[in-house]
Amino acid sequence: AAAESSDSDEDLVSYGSALQPLQEGERIKKPVPLQEQTVKDAKGRYQRFHGAFTGGFSAGYFNTVGTKEGWTPSAFVSSRQKRADRTILGPEDFMDEEDLSEFGIAPKDITTTEDFASKAKDRIKEKARQIAGVVAPIPGTTAFDDLIGPSKTTVGFELLRKMGWREGQGIGPRVKRKPCRQKPDPAVKIYGCALPSGLSQGSEDEEDEYQPENVTFAPKDVMPVDLTPKENVHGLGYKGLDPSQALFGVSGREHLNLFTGGSEETSNLLGDLRHSKGRKLGITGQAFGVGALEEEDDDIYATDTPSKYDTVLKDEEPGDGLYGWTAPKQYKSKKRPEREFKYVGKILDGFSLASKSSAPIKIYPPPSLPRNYRPVHYFRPVIIAGNENCHLQKALEESTGKIESNPTQQSRHALNAAQRRKQLGETELKGPAPSVLEYLSEKDRERLKETKQASEQQMKAKPVSQQSRNSRFQPASPENAAHKWQMLLGGQLANAGSSDFKPFAKNPEKQKRYENFVKSLKQGEKDTLERFLDPNMTEWERGREQEEFFRAAMFYRSSNSTLSSRFTRAKYEDDVDKVEVPRDQENDTDDKETAVKMKMFGKLTRDKFEWHPDKLLCKRFNVRDPYPDSSVVGLPKVKRDKYSVFNFLTMPEPTTSVTQGTNEKIQESNSLNKPKKPSRWDVSDKEKKKKDSISEFISLARSKADVQQQPPVPATEECGTGTSEILPTLVANEDKNLEEESGRPPMDLFKAIFVSSSDEKSSSAEEESDEEQQPSTSERESETTKQVDVPGSSSSNVQESATATTDSGISLLPASKEELDATEEFGPKLPPAFSAGRFCKHLELSFPGSSRKEKHRKIRERHKTKKEHKHKKEKKKKHKKQKNRGKHKNKKSEKDSSSNTTDSSDSLSDTDTTGMSPKELLRR
């Protein structure tokens, strides 16, 4: 609007382009916000910026293969019709056109890659240059070189390149040459102009040297004269250590040549493959320079390689034996190689001849080739050792004189490993035990050897004709076959029958026949099988079995011989007759009993064993493992014979108690069919009275004293005194019994001999008892009454007493009896839950002393007849019980022993009731 208005005014100056005049009623367009601005590519497609750091544009539809309308496989063609020409799509099929253009990610146009570009950038060298810049006396000088140096190549270079020249090549027409000639030895300095090609190569080019016809090489590059002025104060020709060499190690050269001048260029002639081939980085060589105090140094810039050191001890050089490498100088200098050459030219003023020349480079000449050698390989026709060529091969072998003299040689597939090994001349496998024989005892081995020899002799005696017949393949007669097999099995058969290889274990008769067969086969009998075969069998069956036996024998042999070398001898014998027994056992129960009786606790009653806790247990208890390097857990075990009597002799059984106990029972329960075995818990009142005279005496005396001393608990006191009173008669009684049966060994001894397995069925017994232990008041009552009935008495009498109580009006369930039986076997009973006031009553009733006890027993015996009836009723349960008892027989004798002790100690405790004089009590 402003422009229009200013048209008239000429002196107005307008800047910029005028805006489009607004239409009437049109609103001013809002500027497009930044997020809505779009970018389009050359084809008008939108391009979305993809993110600040990921760069570039998104591809496809939000980076998917889909479109706005969803994914449609645009190129879908039914494969039914066009099955044949299904094209394999490459990545290019999914690219945009611009990707394939010159600057795309996959340019289709052929461009010069970096490798073929004129100035191939040597990255390592570039880096070396940078490092050199840093390391150089004035850091950063190379930066100036970059500044000064031409950034672009000259026109001459460009022209040469256009003409096909490459950097590093010489200029001139391409020549026919040996390729290796092109690269001059970088170590050889070339000064001045290059020799004319004809002169330098004519002599070397031998006429018979093979050369490809159509291969030409670019001419050798000529080293220009180095005309760099000396601007530093280094020695003449000195050049600082080239980082490219120092850092990237020139392996071929032993000497870091600092004086090569233009060697940099020469080594680059062919792009210097050595450098570009990922060389190991790192500084090699010694320090940079020689210390002032160092007298001399052969080559201060030498790289230190292991090859420079002597690896073998050599003889001292002839001469002075007195000095070795520490020889004084005059001796040493003598040994300098005579190869010293003299400088013949004039020596400039101020210069002197070097006293020491640099170590000459050792040149390894290439291997001299035969004159007619041509570096082209011909494929000569080779005779393939196959079936069709066997004649030819044989002819060849014959000619070489290596033919096998054995015409009956089997094909190589028929050989087994051992035979092949023999043919190949390999040594036998060195297994730990190559033969089964080693496992046998000396005697067995000898016997085997004898039989083997016998069989061999028989073999030798066989007529040759038979042998020849064997080679023929025809249905052999059994005799023949046997012989054949014998031949096959050879000496190794000797082992066959001797071991536990039982192929026909299922059929013992057959196995027996087989064993016989093998045995006789070993001994070289011919008609073996005929004899051993079952005469009832048919011909066909016999034939079959015979074959079977042969196969079995064969199988055993082969596996035996090949496998024996693969196995090692077992570290521990798994002898079934042995059983692991704790090394230490608690023993001498008898001694301990007496010790306990004498109250001599301490060393006599204590057993100490080495015990290994589990590692995890130690960890859980936060305790250091006492045996960190032992794998034993628990008590250390030793192997013993399973059925050895000695396993049980460690725990001496007091035989007397057993017999005594049983006797007692027999006496007591005449009406009962089976004598009841007392358990450990049978602390019967009669047993109690049996004690050795000393303790008896002591207890007697004590009890008397106690009675006088203080008022004890009445019940126990009564009991105690009563016991002591009736002692003598009873003891006499016991003694009689003792004499009768003392000759019988304990049951365990028999078990050790005749019974094999351990009894582990106690759990089932317990289950029964568990079942019965459901609380029921009546049961409990009966239980308690019974307990009270016989004070301090055994649980073996429990049954009787229980029945006794039933008489007194309380109904006794069969279950309770079971329960009692079960508990008596296993340990301290659980106390009854509810003992009513009856307890006291019974206490008074049944605690009267010994005289009443006698009566009580009579009553009990009377009741036993009733009990018998009951037993019949509960036959089944009773049966169970008996079983249980049988199971626990093993434990029984043990229990007896301890019950024996309890008796005696019981008597003690019973008699001397609560109040003992502290003097006696406190034994320290």
């Binding site: 204590r606 589990d614 582990e760 317990e766 106390p831 839950a833 043990e894 100690s905 405790s909 320290r924």
Partner: protein, 315 residues
């Protein structure tokens, strides 16, 4: 023989009944204090386990999950877990708060008579009438015990643990002490079937109750007899023995319905506590207070010293 002087201040013994818990779970097979003595566990023959505050007389929780009667229980020292063993041959590990069985360890061939936690509650040691002691791992999920101590010739009636020892009393009449630190098993022959064993608080002595109605105090290191305590009756049942909180007295349950206490040094009977009519089944002494827990005839009673005022909160 010179006697040590009687102590100036005689320790109190529990003589006064302050609480009676009617458990209602059949026979109470065991009553046990927890680690600090504030709570107690009762094991019933009706397959349940109950947690109580015995000082207040309140039942807190019932734990059900055993197949048969529960024979022993123990609480871990952090009070978070309970282990129990029962006649169902299994050892159960309970979570105290949820009341659920965390784990059940099966492997015993018989009733599990006694269970104990180690100090950290990482191992349960259980003794069974199958004559083995089994150490179960509570940390890992392995179902088999860490170690089985099968040296006993007969059932295990009692197991106690110290920081580095396992003390077992067996029916074969031996007290065995497995010392993990030294790697040694000490077996002391007592002769009579052992019903209960316990360590003294100082860890120097071992108290063993046996079925010959005798308690014996043995020196732990040498096995020598330090004291013998008789007067009670224990011939048939598995009854507990205890030491009081100061190691001055020795207590034992009896079949005649009393609990007996003897002076540890003198061996004289100090107290005969008439608890009830029936057999005193289980006994537990408070770890710090003169406070006794007695289980008899299906009920549990708590006994305190004479000077104790029931009104005042014990702890």
């Amino acid at each position: 023989m010179a006697f040590p002087r009687p102590r100036p201040a005689r320790p109190e013994l529990p003589r006064q009944r302050v609480q009676t818990l009617q458990c209602g779970q059949g026979a109470v097979r065991a009553a046990r204090f927890n680690a600090d003595g504030n709570y107690c566990l009762t094991c019933g023959s009706d397959k349940t386990l109950k947690l109580w505050n015995p000082h207040k007389g309140t039942a807190l929780r019932t734990y059900q999950g055993h197949g048969y009667e529960v024979l022993d229980a123990a609480g871990s020292s952090d009070n978070s877990q309970i282990c129990s063993g029962g006649a169902d041959k299994s050892v159960a590990l309970w979570d105290v708060t949820t009341g659920q069985v965390v784990r059940k360890y099966r492997g015993h061939a018989g009733k599990v008579n006694c269970v104990q936690f180690n100090e950290e509650g990482t191992v349960i040691v259980s003794g069974s009438i199958d004559s083995t002691v089994r150490c179960w791992d509570c940390r890992s999920r392995r179902p088999d015990p860490i170690q089985v101590l099968d040296e006993a010739k007969d059932g295990i009636s009692s197991v106690k643990l110290s920081a580095y020892e396992i003390l077992t009393g067996s029916v074969d009449g031996r007290v065995r002490r497995y010392d993990l630190r030294v790697g040694e098993l000490c077996s002391d022959y007592i002769g009579s079937p052992i019903t209960s064993v316990c360590f003294s608080k100082d860890g120097q002595c071992v108290l063993a109750a046996s079925l010959d109605s005798t308690l014996r105090l043995l020196d732990k290191d040498t096995g020598e007899l330090l004291g013998e305590y008789t007067g009670h009756r224990s011939t048939t049942y598995r009854l507990d023995c205890v030491l009081n909180e100061q190691d001055t007295h020795v207590g034992c349950a009896s079949e005649d319905g009393h609990v007996y206490f003897w002076d540890l040094v003198e061996g004289s009977l100090a107290l005969s506590l008439p608890v009830g009519q029936g057999v005193v089944q289980s006994l537990a002494f408070h770890p710090r207070l003169p406070c006794l827990l007695v289980a008899t005839q299906g009920q549990v009673t708590l006994w305190r010293e004479d000077t104790f005022q029931p009104e005042g909160d014990p702890d």
